[in-house]
Symmetry: C2
Subunit: 211 residues, 2 copies
Amino acid sequence: MKKEVKDVSMAVIRRLPKYHRLLKELMEKDVTRISSKELSTMIGFTASQIRQDLNCFGGFGQQGYGYDVGELYNEISRILGLTSHYNTIIIGAGNLGQAIANYSNFEKKGFHIMALFEKNPRLVGLQIRDIPVLDVDELGSYCEGKNIEIGVICTNKESAQDVADVLVNLPVKAIWNFAPADIIVPDSIVLENVHLSDSLYIISYLLKNQE
Amino acid sequence: MKKEVKDVSMAVIRRLPKYHRLLKELMEKDVTRISSKELSTMIGFTASQIRQDLNCFGGFGQQGYGYDVGELYNEISRILGLTSHYNTIIIGAGNLGQAIANYSNFEKKGFHIMALFEKNPRLVGLQIRDIPVLDVDELGSYCEGKNIEIGVICTNKESAQDVADVLVNLPVKAIWNFAPADIIVPDSIVLENVHLSDSLYIISYLLKNQE
């Protein structure tokens, strides 16, 4: 019954984490089933959009019954690949790098943070939870044979491209970039840029238009 | 010529920071004008989508000429309210709170971070750049008469709702929430939740479907 997912649009895919989060919350509230209409009220997409989105991955709901919350959560976890394991390293052990390393929930979802790398000698040698902060000069030798899949860039803007080049050559398969810089990588590398300022600018817009 | 913007959909508004970022990059590369078709290639929306989006705020482009990059950047800055000034405080001076306080670019866009508040006595008394870390017990007295507009929540999940309640009562006008918790605030308060995991889950999806 599962459809081939290769042709699902990125717009649909980008909504999946929202469904995942909402279903988790419903499970925590012991809700066991939900209609697309109720989901719609909670998530802010139309019921028809929700049915369309979920149909891209095969039909999960039943007419007149709705969705089984636990089952749908597990299916979306599986679709998102959160049942896999990803060897992950962080470059830059400043505040942001440490914050991400400290966020143990990523570990639970399969993102295994193996080490942080840093050039500042005052930070090298620290442990974040049980994760070591290593000298960035050791990056290549450390990663050899370890099948590192995700590299997280938490450096400043100026170092971001150089770090990306090193990660591409390791090679990693994906880069999660927090530096406020537009880094360039080959098409074969998955790249996600996090632009924290985007949502701050939305706050600004809404404050301005509220007045 | 400017249209009334109250009825612009959130989907359009959420694309504005992307235009803003792209135009900034074009300015840094000394590009002075650009067609919607060229913008489309760079930003990944269709040219027709771009024209529609920008038409919501009045017509900025000229047929056969395209958009004046500097002018469009300034207009979008103005639409986003980035020419205003917002008194901002951060609750939670752990790694993430400090990372945000250190990000001087927010200051340049008008988000004036006045203080961080923290309950951990080991962090109280620190200075991040020139921003003091104060005891969270001083929050109410500090904010009195200061017209604090934005409160940033950088606490753990467990404290997030309590902190949100305090911020709502100050009152702030907007909350930027980084805690991985679904906080509830009155409709009159602008609320933006940052879910860092969303883009990590997209990486996971793309890695899984690439294989």
